[in-house]
Amino acid sequence: MGVGIKSRIATLRLREQFKKYNLAILLIVFIIVASSLSNKFFTISNLFNIIQQSSVVGIITLGMTYVILVAGIDLSVGSTAAFSGMVSTILISQHLPVIMSIVVAIFAGAIIGLINGWFSSYGGLPSFIVTLATMVAVRGATFILTNGTPIYGLSSGFTFIGTGTIGQFPISGAIWIIITLVLLIISKYTGYGRNLYAVGGNPEASYLSGIKVNFVVLIAFTISGILSAFAGILLASWLTVGQPTAATGVELNAIAAVVLGGTSLFGGKGGILGSFIGVLLMAVITNIFNLVGLGSYYQSVFMGVIIVGALMMNKYLVGEKS
């Protein structure tokens, strides 16, 4: 009997351990599967390729993570990315200095984030609907900018950010990793980071404890706006074109990655590192789909099945009850 209980406690302990690293384990499993499906998968160039491809949605996902941590959601990230991408490329095509164009475009993203954040906090509206509205409105504004026409002929100083490499390593990937680290440190080791979790976990208790709940939410959305803007600029730089249709639907990928990464849509639980891995997971899946040449209709079906499957498996292994 005593032995039974001890082993039970041990199992529970093991599960706790597993809970901590489950995502990394999942990623490794996926990588092993992918490698066995195609010998092209585990090559330096393909791996760097995956990182390059993930960096835009990866950066958006980081901002999304902060927003979801405070129990919000940001559907406008794709539109914001497109808007800022257009703004930067328009300015550059008007021969403004690259840096200045980028700064203005990021500023535009910050404003959109502020608007989202204000209405979702001080304004007291659900962020889902606020950002749905800005998603639609900002996309419209993006088309108005150039009447729907893309901007080509960008300076190589600009396109370098998105297409360049350090050695073989893509610069955009490096930027993504750096931003990940910064946001990770903020979330773990600063007051603002702690407040993110508190506000997401229990806004009322946080308010009564003197946390500026609305302000914390406002900033989370602003960060999301800024990062989306930056991602949009990176995308334009990578594609060497400013496109008003860019990044359509990216919000869903970002949200999926955040959830796969273990952050709760109800706020207060999860974190940056999980989202980073979540993005990589999704990228590995699409990459291997393409490498094995799976037809695109089937890709959709499998993608859906794999997402739910991975979450269920994780849930089962971690042994959580609903």
């Binding site: 039974g4 209980i5 406690i9 702690r194 508190a198 976990g201 208790a205 404890s209």
Partner: protein, 496 residues
């Protein structure tokens, strides 16, 4: 000997890293009021959750009405005639009182007869003597005490054979407690068995037939209440003698200095209230459920804005627009609804304890995490918080231990005016003494404290002065606490 309606044998339950129940034997007779006591975290709620199908047990056996049972959900337990009032209130805020009373009794495939529903609710409320609660009212508009009453009505409405009450009296004051006792007697007369959990040991002798004491997940004793006494129970609960002599303090009220003052404050609930809190004073607020104590504290703390009147701090009029503003002025609030307003269940102990923004916790913009954890660890020892470490999620703590975490966040913040709303609700007797000691030392070092409590003995024990609330007004002030112990109940009920 009476036959057992319930018998639980060798029940064991583990949580990650700890054993919450260890071979517990527990049985209840037909028509018996069986009390269950133990320090915070002893495993009382866990045992009841296993009984009612909320948790599954690791091993052991449960026999109910002669049959081996293994309820896999609360629904099954209810269908078999067991109802429970959980320690944490479980009502649906945005539904009416009537719907909450009959929550879970709607058949998905049948129609709802609203008139019938309201009539039934009215008669249930009447039967427990609380016809002042209106069945169509939304629960979100009720004070926490009234919610507790609705929980009682809900448990009664089920027609159960066994009712578990997990700390039903924690936020009830004298008159409502009397109602509760009457309801329990009625039920007992009808042959219903009751398991009653409380930290107010006096209540046991009012209503209990037998008592079982749990300590660290083990049964220490089961005995008839006529065969034991207060001190013995305390000894069994905490495993050591508590010095019977109450903590004595020499109060050092500076009656010349009013640190906090409210002048003819009114809101929807309270009317033209005037109070003064002096430096070094412990001021008690007593009253029936819904009399307006919480409402006053909310205004003082800047949560609600008064429709008229003003608040003065150290003689200066202030307009506190938010709790944050109040905190900046040195105020602290321990709210009455721990789960919704006090703790953040998904965060661990140290994060909860340091959730109040403070310069002390940061250096160069970064949190001084190891220092914070050292401080929190000290506080956990001081308050005897039962947890494996400060990394434990607060959601996994027992109710009383959660309450201690809420207290610790203000002790760490070092404020000067403490507003405590039911500060010892759910706290065990050992820790209660510790909290009293803390409140004393706060006051004697020049801080001021307001305690709103439904436990008049607690107030008499703690305070320098007690104000009695009745229907949003202060109807009586007791400076002589001996007089208070004789008259406070009456005063709260009749409003004079």
């Amino acid at each position: 000997m009476n036959k057992d309606i319930l018998s639980m044998k060798s029940v064991t339950k583990c949580f990650p890293g700890m054993k919450a129940l260890d071979n517990v034997d527990f049985s209840v007779c037909y028509g018996e009021v069986h009390c269950l006591i133990g320090a915070n975290g002893a495993g009382k709620s866990t045992l009841m959750k296993i009984l009612t199908g909320v948790y599954s047990r690791d091993s052991g056996e449960i026999v109910f009405k002669g049959n081996k049972v293994n309820f896999s959900s609360p629904r099954e337990a209810r269908q078999n005639g067991i109802s429970i009032i959980h320690q944490e209130l479980s009502l649906v805020d945005n539904l009416s009182v009537a719907e909450n009373i009959f929550l879970g009794q709607n058949n998905n495939f049948k129609t709802v007869n609203w008139r019938h529903l309201y009539n039934e609710s009215r008669s249930v409320l009447q039967s427990i003597g609380m016809s002042t609660i209106y069945p169509k009212e939304l629960v979100s508009n009720l004070s926490i005490g009234h919610r507790q009453i609705v929980e009682l009505a809900k448990a009664v409405a089920l027609d159960a054979k066994l009712i578990v009450m997990d700390e039903p009296s924690a936020t009830l004051s004298g008159a409502e407690y009397a109602t509760l006792v009457r309801v329990i007697r009625d039920l007992q007369r009808k042959g219903v068995s009751i398991i009653y959990i409380t930290h107010r040991l006096n209540e046991l002798f009012d209503i209990g037939d037998k008592v079982t004491v749990l300590r660290d997940g083990k049964v220490v004793a089961t005995q008839r209440l006529t065969d034991t006494n207060h001190d013995e129970l305390v000894f069994q609960m905490i495993g050591k003698k508590v010095s019977n002599q109450k903590v004595i303090r020499n109060s050092q009220v500076d009656a010349q200095r009013a640190v906090l003052e409210a002048q003819s404050i009114s809101t929807k609930v309270i009317k033209q209230l005037n109070i003064k809190l002096h430096a070094g004073e412990i001021l008690g607020l007593y009253g029936l459920v819904g009399s307006g104590r919480t409402e006053l504290l909310r205004v003082l703390y800047g949560i609600d804005q008064p429709s008229s009147g003003r608040v003065l701090l150290n003689g200066q009029p202030v307009k506190l627009k938010s709790p944050r503003a109040a905190i900046k002025k040195g105020m602290a609030l321990v709210p009455e609804n721990r789960k919704l307003q006090g703790v953040i269940l998904g965060l661990n102990i140290w994060m909860n304890a340091t959730v109040v923004p403070s310069r002390d916790f940061v250096k160069y913009g970064f949190l001084r995490i190891s220092d914070i954890r050292k401080q929190v660890g000290g506080m956990m020892k001081r308050l005897n918080i039962k947890a494996s470490s400060s990394n434990t999620l607060v959601g996994n703590l027992s109710g009383g231990n959660q309450q201690k975490v809420v207290l610790s966040k203000w002790l760490l913040k070092k404020t000067s005016i403490f507003l405590l709303d039911e500060p010892t609700q759910g706290v065990d007797i050992g820790a209660k003494e510790e909290i009293y000691r803390l409140i004393y030392s706060l006051a004697s070092s020049g801080n001021s404290v307001i305690v709103a409590s439904s436990d008049h003995e607690e107030l008499i024990h703690l305070c320098d002065r007690i104000l009695v609330f009745y229907d949003g007004e202060i109807v009586k002030e007791f400076i002589d606490l001996d007089e208070a112990s004789a008259k406070i109940l009456e005063s709260a009920v009749v409003g004079r």
